[in-house]
Amino acid sequence: MEILYASCVGILVTCGLFLILRARTFPVVLGLTMMSYAVNLFLFASGRLNSNQAAVLGKSAQYADPLPQALVLTAIVIGFAMTAFVVILSIRGRADLGNDHVDGIIPNKNKVLQRETR
């Protein structure tokens, strides 16, 4: 199980970072979202994996480490806030700069591809 879990984290990181390295804001936002999934899973894993040991007193014999769960909750909320901000910033960027390139300018070498497809 552990190796499967770790592989999932690794693949999420890979996909997330690949998207983050794209040139347009939307894929980058998706990448950040994906990255935050990976990060949350990772942070969660710092309390190790447990089956049926929810940290609710009286509901099971043993309890999973509750602290990473609390940390992940905080991270999710903060991640949501940040994602929201960057999404809106992307819109603002498109509106202000006329394109959705992360640099605000479409590099010249791709002149043929410059036309935005809508």
Partner: protein, 505 residues
């Protein structure tokens, strides 16, 4: 001292909230008065803490009455109180400056500024690594929003870069935290220091990974090479008063390095002792180099100042990696000085660019400024200070740092780099000053002069430099004591964890 230690965090928070609520946020006069008042209260509270920290040992405040390592504690030592005082003072200056009109160029300036102060002060005071993350996020989100204040194209563009990079940074922060918790099972910085010293086997490598991941994040915040690339555009495109406030932001990264790599991965960390040093040392020097080239290459005063930030970061990080009391003490003096002087340079750049019309702050011929004495004189003072020329404050930090670094093996690299950097800054600033104040395309100055509020703030900030020289005895004594306190890891750990016997196991 009771609950005083919470005030530098809670006061700006309360201020921000009140500024968003009906009676207080109603019109701009009330907003400004309230915001300034809260900044002042925060400053008073910070200074009270500062005074307190000179006479007492480290104060530990257990939030929620849960003591360390279980709950979150605020740790008020000399280092923290020094930095919150600096932050609060800078905030008061910036808020006052902005109250002359910049605050109305967009929504929520004052609440955001208060939130920023809350975040920065929180980051300085917290003794918990995850809580540090939370405060990082508070200050970051506030800074994102402030960055786009009085928005235009350039702000949007640089904000995009800044925000996205920092979001990736936050991810890495969390991974680092995860690794550290996964190995050490705790979040309290002092407790981590204890746990790190007990690690064996491959756990050491894992903890090292955690520590190095955090290093990258702090490096990004502090803007050390090669993670500095976002800074020049971001700072130079921000509204100058915001950029002035941002002068403290890179210092948060430096501060975190001081804390984490002195306490957790400091001398008692066994195999992991001083583990950041091999990375920080060369990078800090390269940072100085790149910042210096940036200063020389800058086409405008704001960009130049932004590059000065990079130099100051390189200098501070070099001090961090020296791991000596003296270097830390020098760095603390330098932090105060460079923060204030960089801030005032940004503010000066603001007035200069307004008065020079089309030429703005660019280093080309332009209209003469309307207030040559205050702006030119101010520029001279700030420039002397940042280039480390007497009689302004820069030279003390410079000498101290050189002195502190003279004993280490890296002197042979650091000294030439640092001295040549000083020289290049001198060249660049004299060139900049020559363009800005001496080379006129015509002789018609604008009749529009800066609001007295603005010039007063600038004068107040400028005055800090000579005052820091005159009272350098007191200040250096303080920073030296603060540095000693920081490097006394045993005392720190024992105080925070309330251990009465001495020594870390």
């Amino acid at each position: 001292m009771g609950h005083l230690v919470t005030l530098p965090i809670l006061l700006p928070m309360l201020g921000a909230i009140l500024l968003l609520l009906p009676p207080c946020g109603k019109n701009k006069k009330i907003r400004r008065a309230l915001s300034q008042a809260f900044a002042l209260f925060t400053l008073i509270a910070s200074i009270a803490l500062l005074m307190n920290s000179t006479t007492n040992n480290i104060e530990v405040y257990a939030l929620g009455n849960w003591s360390a390592p279980f709950g979150i504690v605020l740790v008020s030592d000399m280092l923290a109180t020094l930095l919150i005082s600096l932050t609060s003072f800078l905030a008061l200056c910036c808020i006052t400056y902005a109250s002359a009109g910049d605050d109305e160029k967009g929504r929520f300036f004052h609440p955001l500024m208060q939130f920023l102060v809350m975040g920065v002060n929180g980051a300085f005071l917290t003794g918990d690594l995850f809580n540090l993350f939370v405060f990082f996020e508070v200050l970051l989100i506030a800074s994102y929003s402030l960055l786009i204040h009085a928005g235009d194209k350039h702000k949007t563009r640089s904000a995009l870069h800044y925000v996205i990079l920092n979001l990736i940074g936050s991810s890495v922060f969390l991974i680092g935290l995860g690794v550290l918790y996964g190995v050490l099972g705790t979040l309290n910085i002092a407790d981590m220091a204890v746990k790190v010293s007990l690690l064996t086997g491959d756990d050491v490598a894992l903890a090292k990974i955690g520590g190095l991941l955090l290093l990258i994040v702090f490096g990004l915040k502090a803007a050390i090479l090669p993670l500095h690339l976002w800074l020049p555009k971001t700072y130079s495109s921000a509204l100058p008063v915001v950029a002035a406030m941002f002068a403290i932001m890179t210092k948060v990264g430096v501060y975190a390095m001081f804390r984490v790599y002195t306490i957790i991965f400091g001398e008692q960390a066994g195999e992991l002792a001083f583990m950041a040093q091999p990375w920080l040392w060369p990078l800090s020097i390269l940072t100085i180099v790149i910042g210096t080239l940036g200063v020389l290459a800058s086409e405008g005063l704001r960009k130049l100042t932004a590059n000065l930030v990079i130099i100051s970061v390189g200098t501070l990080v070099a001090a961090v990696s020296m791991h000596s009391v003296m270097a830390t003490a020098a760095a603390l003096y330098y932090i105060i000085h460079s923060t204030l002087m960089i801030a005032v340079l940004f503010l000066l750049a603001d007035l200069i660019s307004v008065q020079r019309g089309k030429a703005s702050d660019r280093l080309v011929e332009g209209k003469p400024v309307a207030q040559p004495y205050i702006l030119g004189g101010g520029f001279l003072i700030a420039a002397l200070a940042v280039m480390g020329m007497p009689p302004m404050s820069g030279f003390i930090g410079k000498i101290w740092l050189l002195k502190a670094s003279s004993q280490i093996t890296g002197t042979i690299v650091f000294w030439p780099v640092y001295l040549i950097a000083s020289f290049v800054v001198l060249i660049a600033l004299s060139r900049a000053g020559s363009f800005l104040f001496w080379r006129h395309s015509n002789n018609e100055a604008t009749t529009e002069v800066a609001a007295p509020l603005k010039t007063n703030v600038i004068i107040a900030l400028l005055l800090c430099s000579p005052l820091m020289v005159i009272f350098s005895g007191k200040i250096t004594d303080f920073t030296l004591a603060a540095a000693k306190q920081l490097h006394d890891v045993n005392n720190h750990v024992n105080t925070v964890l309330a251990i009465s016997n001495h020594g870390v196991k």
